[in-house]
Amino acid sequence: MTTVERAAASSAAVGTPVLDVRDLSVSFTTEGGTVSAVDRVNLDLASGEIVGMVGESGCGKSVTAMSIAGLLPDSARVSGSVRLEGTELVGARESVLRRVRGKEIAYIFQEPMTSLNPVLTVGRQIGEVLQVHERMSKRAARARAVELLSLVGIPSAAKRVDNYPHQLSGGMRQRVMIAMAVACGPKVLVADEPTTALDVTVQAGILQVLRDLRDRLGTTILVITHDLGVIADIADRVVVMYAGRVVEQAPVTDLFAHPYHRYTAGLLAASPTPGKHAGTERLQEIPGLVPVLSIQPDACTFADRCPAADARCREAAPPLEAVGTAVTDHLAACWHPCPAPRTQPQETTA
């Protein structure tokens, strides 16, 4: 066991609540008026869990994640509650937030190059995090940096530690970002589209690193992606967001076996999957676009794009409720949930 692993092994047992988000709403004041980005989102993360968050771009995934990590710009108006092991973060003092940010909740972005400093070696960058947050000596910080680099699967870490970011491939840079993010042993790691800019061959390795972190350090991970393949690969539980709201939430196999919300079903049908469309010539489309809302309507926000929408959907917002047998914690916010388990998409052409 490395020191990193030993430190983690003593932390919380698997399954205890770590993060609790209640009625989180976020809006922005812009030149063009108010943008309501997140609407009354509830979300729990238990320790050692990998939760996947999925939805098209503009659905509020990053804004939700950034409010958790305290990274929103000043133009954001936030209401509701985000508690990290009982400590309220919404409206918390800057000193509390500073400790939480980076140390207890870490955030990794899609594009590693823009978040790394091009003129410092990766060892220096990781070392600085440790010197600041952990008050380590320069020498100890460097040793730990090497350990962290090998933890995230960088070969010959003792040499790589002296590389500059441009000397590394895109996948290696993303690994460095992860090493930096977990340097202080955060309780929660938010990975916002961590593989979107990478090739599938490289993606597989990054997902493996995230899984290892959970298995070896017990890190709780929120993975944001628009790729259902990534979700299928790594998530224990899935949260589907649409136009600022959580529309469905379920353990991963339940969600794919039976999506209840019409939007989830649409996303699944639209995803190209090798083999799924063999012999058919078309993918299912979801007509229309994610709306940009200034006020949250008392209606289902998917109604304009939904094949099953009726008057009720336009007159009242469906609550997020238990669906199915209720043996599992499967929730959906839909007045007319999809009935039978998913069938293969219909052939529209011969």
Partner: protein
């Protein structure tokens, strides 16, 4: 000229940027009206191939033949005659559409550049027709690109590319920047147009799953060279080259039960530099099956029933090992 010239023939195409060997000897044929997908990781040289075909780059060596005409050595002026034979659509519609031009002007531009005389009225009618064909209303002609969504902008690029009725369309990652739902509609649109109009297409993508129902044939590129070619069906069901097998194994399937049974084939991240490609087989530094001979000898393209593959382990009768051998039977296609 032969009666049915191929839409595209590349013979030993080479494109070096100084020491960067971006494309290093590609031979590829696309018959009239067929779709070939060019797949591979980023940096493998796919876009450079596309740019050589539309002559945004002048190849270092080799031959590019479009609809039977060798365009490799033509001057800019001579090329004008052939401008209408081939069009290109890029990944990023925002970057490839001039923000100061109205959509109508953008779509009509190829007509203007072709130098053919056409009345304004006819031109507007053609633009409206083309917009209709890509599923946009005629009013969109009076808007600016930034007023449109990403999917709509990509439709505008497609309309512009098709207005000159090209025999060949180069589509360079046309859906990679789009959300899945929008990607589905753009892929469907391209498939419909291709079937109705019958243009040939070189569909460039790093995403194998996007080509399954669009491509007739697939060519797999690695560090400037083709490692495998063949009909789509065969590539998906019986990939011959270890790199193709690894690519298929790496793309996650949107089914947690199947996905978690699969055995990952991890290649490590380092796509070697195109400045100094490995000796012998260029894939050897990442190939799980590499052996002594791979460093010493460049593998020849072996023709077998289902196409071509360049690997020492692929036999002329098509037998070959599978790097996914340890994976379960539900692998890729079940």
């Amino acid at each position: 000229m032969t009666p049915q010239p191929n839409a595209l023939e590349l013979e030993d195409l080479v494109m070096h940027f100084g020491p960067v060997r971006a494309v290093d000897g590609i031979t590829l044929t696309i018959p009239k009206g067929r779709v070939t997908a060019l797949v591979g990781e980023s940096g493998s040289g796919k876009s450079t191939v596309g740019r050589c075909v539309v002559r945004l780059e002048k190849p270092t060596a080799g031959v590019v033949r479009i609809a039977g005409t060798d365009v490799t050595q033509l001057t800019r002026r001579q090329l004008r005659q052939h401008r209408n034979d081939v069009s290109i659509v890029f990944q990023d519609p925002a970057g490839s559409l001039d923000p100061r031009m109205l959509v109508g002007e953008i779509v009509a531009e190829p007509l203007r550049l072709s130098g053919k005389r056409i009345t304004r009225r006819d031109r507007e009618a053609r633009v409206a027709e083309e917009l209709g064909r890509v599923g946009l209303r005629a009013e969109v002609a009076r808007r600016y690109p930034h007023e449109l969504s990403g999917g709509q902008r990509q439709r505008v690029s497609i309309a512009r590319a098709l207005i000159s009725e090209p025999k060949l369309l180069i589509a360079d990652e046309p859906t990679s920047a789009l959300d899945v739902s929008v990607q589905a509609s753009v892929l469907n649109l391209l498939a419909d147009l291709q079937r109705d109009i019958g243009f040939a297409c070189l569909f460039i993508t790093h995403d194998l799953s996007a080509v399954e129902y669009l491509a007739d044939d697939i060519a797999v590129m690695y560090l400037g060279q083709l490692v495998e070619q063949g009909p789509r069906e065969r590539i998906f069901t019986r990939p011959a080259h270890p790199y193709t097998q690894a690519l298929l194994a790496a793309a996650p399937v949107a089914d947690p039960v199947r996905q978690r049974q699969r055995q990952p084939v991890l290649l490590g991240d380092d796509l070697p530099s195109a400045l100094d490609p490995p000796s012998g087989c260029r894939f050897r530094t990442r190939c799980p099956l590499a052996f002594d001979r791979c460093a010493a000898e460049v593998p020849a393209q072996v023709a077998f029933g289902g196409g071509l593959a360049a690997c020492h382990l692929v036999q002329p009768d098509g037998t070959r090992p599978d790097v996914r051998a340890a994976a379960d039977s539900s692998e890729v296609l079940s």
